[in-house]
Structure formats: C-alpha cells, structure tokens
C-alpha cells in the first residue's frame, strides 16, 4: 500500500511537469491553432536561462524563476513575431514543421553559447534532497515542491484567465478569432502575448524538472511525452492538459514498477493510442462536426 502511494506521488510529481509543458501546447493551440513542437525546447532554453541567472548573475531561487520566465516570455514573443506570424493562415502541417524548425534552431544554438554547450549542469534549488515521513510513506521534498508550484501556477492562471482584461481577451481570441477581432481585441498582439505566456509556463516546467534530469541541451525531448499528455486530455482544453499530464505521469510511474523493463518509456504512447481509439479528440476534447 505504501509502495503504491509512493509510486502515485512520484507519478504525480512527474505528471506535473508534463502538465506544465502540455499546458503550454494547449494555450498556443487554443489561441492560434498552431501545434508548437518547440515547446520542449522552450522549456530547455528556459532552464538554461535559469542556470545563467543562478550561476553567472548569482540570483536567489525566487528571482531566478522570475528572471528566467521574463527572458523566456520575450523569447516566446519574438518567435511568434518573427517565425510564426508570416505563416499565419497556412495549412496546419506547414506551421507544425516551422515550429519543428524553430526547435532545431534552439537546440543547436544552445550548444554554441559559451558556458552552456553540450554539458550537463545541476540547478541548485532550496528544496534539496530532504525527505518527509508520513506514516511509512517517504515523501521527497522536491516532489512536494513540484506539485505545490504547479498547483500555485494553475491557480494563478485560473485567476488570470477569469478576472483580468488580457486573460478574458485571450479566452475570446481562442474561442472565435474573427468575433474577437470585431470586438476590438488586438488579436495579433494577443497571440504574441500567448506565446510569451506559454514560453513562461514552459520555463517553470523546466526549472521544476531540472533537479530530476539536470539541465542539458536535449532535455527538451521530454516535450514529446507532454504531447501525448495534451492529446489524452484533448488538445484545446486547459483542465484536460493538467489531467492528461497527471494521467501520463502516474501511468508511467506504475508501469515502470509493475511491468517489465521498457514499458515505462512507451507507456505514454500506448495510453495516447488507446485514448485516441476510443475518443478521437481526447477525453475533454470538443467534438464538433462541420455542417455543409
């Protein structure tokens, strides 16, 4: 029983990271109908900026987060402005390929920057290797921190989308771009802000992931696991992304323990195939048909 609880907790902590990356996917998809394959690489870049903030600038942990998120928000907005806007309105697949290209560039450029390169770095966090014991269950402080951060971020995002002007404008844009345009919402600027926002969320995901996997130029490939998470929840549904991330994280943790070796790596993909067979647009996805 305690073993199961412990696995669940580890799975949820890992799932939170998936959920954060998936959240970035979903926000961009909802607003611009672009599937951003570079989300994992944005996360990687964010983690590197956090590393620079912590080591070169010597900032404390909280400032590191703010610094990295701010820098990455600008990077995200620049990517939208320079790369994505010229191809607005192209077929979805073309846009997917351009984000893949952007991901390649980010992964490549990181190896060229002095001090970053191809090495693996550890990002210092205030929640070191401490453990809590709750009735026989050993709980890593790091895992609790990840879950706590994610919960806080979700709350902040909920409040942002519910009560701020920009947040509501973003919701309007993602529901119906044309109608939003008619209502006087600057849709392009909102798209840019959404890219900034999701780059920032990815950065937080990267910082939370860093203690588990360290910071290196290929850590963005975890984005490929977050993808199934977003799809399981239904692309275009924010609660779905969180739920999908948690499902994938927990399934992975359980299959890593109970099933033979090798199943852990493909668990996410098996889950996504099963879900897509039953519900072709995810668990929380909208199912709508075009009427002629």
């Amino acid at each position: 029983m305690t073993q199961l609880l412990q696995l669940l907790l580890a799975g949820i902590a890992q799932g939170c990271v998936y959920a954060l990356v998936a959240l970035g996917f979903v926000l961009i998809y909802k607003a611009t109908e672009t599937v951003n394959f570079a989300q994992g690489d944005l996360m990687m870049l964010g983690a590197f900026f956090a590393l620079t903030g912590a080591t070169v600038l010597g900032l404390p942990y909280w400032l590191v987060i703010i610094f990295a998120v701010a820098v990455m928000a600008v990077v995200g907005m620049l990517i939208e402005r320079i790369v994505l806007r010229p191809v607005l309105g192209h077929p979805a697949f073309t846009v997917v390929m351009i984000t893949i290209g952007a991901g390649y560039v980010m992964r490549g450029v990181v190896t060229m920057i002095p001090g970053w390169g191809t090495e693996t770095y550890a990002l210092a966090t205030p929640f070191a290797e401490g453990v809590l014991r709750v009735g026989g269950v050993v709980v890593g402080v790091q895992q609790l921190a990840v879950i706590g951060h994610t919960a806080l971020l979700c709350l902040a995002l909920y409040l942002f989308f519910r009560f701020t002007r920009v947040g509501i404008a973003m919701q309007a844009t993602s529901q119906n771009q044309l109608a939003a345009y008619y209502m006087g919402i600057p849709v392009r600027r909102i798209n840019m802000l959404i890219w900034g926002l999701s780059a920032g969320i990815a950065t937080i995901g990267g910082i939370l992931l860093a203690p588990a996997t360290f910071v290196h130029s290929n850590m963005g490939f975890i984005g490929l696991k977050a993808f199934p998470a977003a799809v399981v929840g239904g692309f275009g549904s924010v609660p779905g992304a969180i739920a999908g991330g948690l499902i994938i994280g927990v399934v992975e943790a359980l299959s890593g323990f109970y099933l033979p070796e090798g199943f852990k790596d493909v668990a996410a993909y098996v889950v996504v195939l099963l879900v897509l067979m039953v519900r072709p647009s995810g668990i929380f996805g909208e199912t709508a048909r075009k009427k002629v």
Binding site: M97, T118, Q177, E261
Partner: protein, 358 residues
C-alpha cells in the same frame, strides 16, 4: 513558352507532355546510368543515399503531399522494411523474395496504422503516428531474440539470381532501377482514378465523399502504398549501411523524412527527389562551410541542427512550394524572358481556417 495544342483526349493522359520532356528525362537517365564512370566513390555513395531517400520521399509524398494525411512515424516503416530484409536474408531467402516481403510487411503495418487514421484528423493523426513510431522503436530495442536489440545487426550484400552485388556500382544500379520504377509507378498511379481520389481527399474530405470516393478505402490504401515504398527504402538502406540498429530509426529520422517532403515541395513528385538530394547534400555543404566560420560556431555539435532548422524555417516562410516551386519560377523566368513579373507566383492571401470544425 511552350503551348501544347491538344487535339486528342489521350494527350491529357500522357506521361510526357511533349518531346522536350522526353529529351531531358532521357538525358538525365543517361547521365545517371553513366554515374559509376564519372562519379568518384564518395559521390557515388551519396547517390546511393539520394536514391534511397528519394524512394522514401516518394512514399511520404504520396501520403502527405497527395492524400493530405500527416505522418510523424515513417521511420517505423523504414525500420520494418530494414529488419524484414535483414532477417529474411539471414534465413536464406533470395533477394527477389525478401524485397517484396519487406514491402508487403510494411504495407500491412501501414494498414494497421491507417485504420485509426480513418477517425483521426490533423494533429491527432500526427500524434498517433508519432506514438506508433516510438512504440516500434522500443519494440526493436527490446525484442532482442529477433532484432539483436541495441547492439544491432549486420547485413550481408545483395545476391540477385546468383550474382553477388557487392560493388558500389552494382548496388547503385539496383537502387537506381528501383528509384526509377517507383517514380514511374507513382506518376502512373497519380493519373489514374485512384490517384485522383487521393488528391480529392486531400483537398476536401467532404466533397470527396460526396463524389463517391470511399474515404476509408483510399486513406488506408494511401497508407499502405506509402508504407510499402518506405519499406523498400528501408530494405535498400539496410544493404547500403550494412548495419542496422534501433537508433537509426528514431523520431528524429521521421522528422527528417518529413522535411524531405516540405523542402522539396508538397504535392510534386519532383519535389520528393529534389528534397532527398537536398537533405543528403546539406550536411556536406555545412562541413565545407565550417572552414569559414568562427571556431566557436564551427566546433559546436549543434551546428547542423541550427542550419537545418534555419533552412526549414526559411523555406516555409519564403518558398512554401519548396525546391520544386523555386525551379518552376526559374523555368518560367527563362521561358517568358523578358516578361517575367514579380507577382506571377504570388500566393493568394490566406486567412486562418479553423480546423476544429471539420
């Protein structure tokens, strides 16, 4: 500018539109047939890869460019082809049986993948194929009794009707023949009712089904043919590199295969060949350019990825029709000289079309 005055219906169906095409394609054929005489060993080896990638590119072009279905898992079909070929050859089967088996098994796997594709659209299909690719990669790494796992498997040379094709030139002719056959076969397929049905599905599924196209049948068929060609490419790839292991068939390879289609120009058979040549030649160009770059950039391991990404972005923004589109423009410039206008190929203004309601 050449105007073809058509007087009979079968002129519309001809493979070659006019004598000029016959001439240029024959010239290309002669130059390629003579390649072992004019090309160095290194160039010939690159031509091998261009041929193999062309076959795979043609397969993917049929699926992506002509049927409008996305696949991010084509490396899996490549792997199925390569492993089938290797294992059957090791079991003593002759090449004229192993190659069709590789193609048929890939096609069968393609049908299995194509079946869910009937319900999935756009990005969901991309994810499903991506997941499929990841699972196949893992199976190859874990099923050690069959595939040799991560330590890989060695592949012997091709033996065709008692002849051992162990020289570079022998393999070259085999690849060249198969590439040419695939090109002609696809060109033929695309001017048949089947090919027209594929294009109809790409342009609009609703109107295709209204015109009596059986969506399920043709989508599955497209997946099967595409997978079969990729399987043939995989089998040849195995013989070319003579060693296969699961790392050669990762997601990154799938993405590279898709870039062949994008860079070459979506929706043209020429594009698949151009794209394949480009993807093979680009790393060589980067290696040449290294001497002129500052050492910090040239020495970085990510240089190739960066250039690759920049090229991809540049093409999609500035030349969405790919290399074939660029070639069309250059040709038109010469044909119309001096009357070429800048706006001739200007894209129609596009607006965002929602894919949610389809």
């Amino acid at each position: 500018m050449r105007f073809i005055f058509k007087t009979r219906y079968d002129q519309d169906l001809r493979l070659f539109k006019h004598g000029g095409q016959v001439f240029w394609y024959s010239l290309l054929g002669v130059v390629l047939l003579a390649a072992p005489w004019w090309a160095s060993e290194y160039v010939l080896s690159q031509l091998h890869f261009i041929g193999i990638y062309s076959i795979v590119g043609l397969g993917l072009m049929l699926l992506v460019g002509f049927t409008g279905q996305i696949s991010l898992g084509h490396a899996a079909f490549l792997a199925v082809g390569a492993y089938t070929e290797t294992l059957l050859q090791a079991a003593g089967w002759p090449f004229w049986l192993t190659l069709p088996s590789a193609a048929l098994l890939s096609a069968a796997v393609g049908i299995v993948v194509g079946l869910p594709a009937l319900r999935l659209k756009g990005i969901y299909l991309a994810i499903a194929t991506l997941a499929f690719g990841a699972i196949v990669e893992e199976i190859m790494a874990r099923w050690e009794s069959l595939t040799g796992g991560n330590s890989g498997k060695h592949v012997k040379h091709v033996e065709l009707f008692g002849m051992k094709l162990d020289g570079d030139a022998d393999l070259y002719y085999l690849i060249l023949a198969l590439t040419a056959i695939s090109c002609v076969a696809l060109a033929n397929l695309l001017r048949s009712p089947t090919g027209r049905a594929f294009v109809a599905i790409r342009d609009s599924e609703i109107s295709a089904s209204c015109m009596g196209v059986n969506l399920a049948k043709y989508k599955t068929m497209s997946f099967a043919i595409s997978a079969a060609l990729t399987g043939i490419g995989g089998a040849l790839y195995a013989h070319k590199v003579t060693f296969i292991s699961p790392e050669q068939f990762t997601l990154l390879v799938s993405i590279e295969l898709v870039t062949i289609v994008i860079l070459g120009g979506v929706g043209s058979l020429h594009g698949a060949v151009f794209g394949a040549a480009f993807v093979i030649v680009l790393p060589q160009l980067i290696a040449l350019a290294k001497d002129y770059l500052p050492s910090g950039v040239a020495g970085a391991s990510g240089l190739q990825a960066t250039v690759f990404g920049l090229v991809l972005i540049g093409f999609i923004i500035f030349e969405p029709m790919g290399l074939y589109g660029r070639w069309l423009k250059i040709r038109t410039w010469f044909e119309l000289f001096p009357f070429y206008r800048k706006g001739m190929f200007r894209r129609q203004k596009t607006y965002m079309k929602s894919e949610r309601l389809r």
